[in-house]
């Protein structure tokens, strides 16, 4: 099972770019990297997913180096509403979800 390691918490200010790095040294060939966002009293929400190199959508960018042993979620110009827990997951989308492990996540605090 691919484990992930993320910082426990991060602080930022409104308007700044935030980069959260996740380590996953034993990532397998079929594993994808997926990031979720969770607000209090809500379920996790899918943000972005990638396999290698760079992926960008309207919310974030995901940078994955060639060895795929780490990944970085980049949130451009954060706002107060981006305060949440961010989870990095590594797993094979075809495995039925059972081997995709949620770690402790990173608590991001965005200050005014």
């Amino acid at each position: 099972l691919a484990k992930t390691t993320q910082p426990i918490s991060m602080d930022s200010y409104e308007g700044q770019e935030v980069n959260i790095t996740c380590s996953h040294n034993n990532i397998a060939t079929n594993d994808y990297i997926t990031w979720y966002q969770q607000f209090p009293s809500q379920g996790p929400r899918f943000i972005i997913q990638g396999y290698k190199t760079k992926v960008t959508n309207e919310v974030a960018s995901l940078f994955i180096p060639a060895d795929r042993k780490s990944s970085t979620l980049s949130l451009p110009r954060v706002s107060l509403s981006d305060t949440a827990v961010y989870y990095c997951l590594v797993g094979d989308p075809l495995d039925g979800g059972f081997k995709t492990i949620f770690g402790a996540g990173t608590r991001l605090f965005v200050k005014a």
Partner: protein, 114 residues
């Protein structure tokens, strides 16, 4: 329209009772899940189910059982509730193979056993 809906949102009950949490998804997904989030905010998968196969996390007590009347529903039944069952339970769904969409979670059910 809510994609994955759970009821109730809050559930307070006494030890020893039997309770159920309902989950419905209108996304047409093939697979549904139940997750438990404990007080330390760790999310742990309990069950994975599609119309062919139920996969059970071996650490889940057999007091917990999923019931799926159809593809769009996966309810969670809990017998003989214990204090340690207090947690937030999330239902989720996915369509394996559509790898770029991940899991869609419900808003959770906060279960408190007193």
């Amino acid at each position: 329209d809510t994609a994955v809906s759970q009821t109730p949102k809050y559930l307070v009950t006494q030890m020893g009772n039997d309770k159920s949490i309902k989950c419905e998804q209108n996304l047409g997904h093939d697979t549904m899940y139940w997750y438990k989030q404990d007080s330390k905010k760790f999310l742990k998968i309990m069950f994975s189910y599609n119309n062919k196969e139920l996969i059970i996390n071996e650490t889940v007590p057999n007091r917990f059982s999923p019931k799926s009347p159809d593809k769009a529903h996966l309810n969670l039944h809990i017998n003989s509730l214990e204090l340690g069952d207090s947690a937030v339970y999330f239902c989720a769904s996915s369509r394996p193979g559509q790898s770029r969409y991940g899991y869609t979670f419900g808003s959770g059910t906060r279960l408190t056993v007193v």
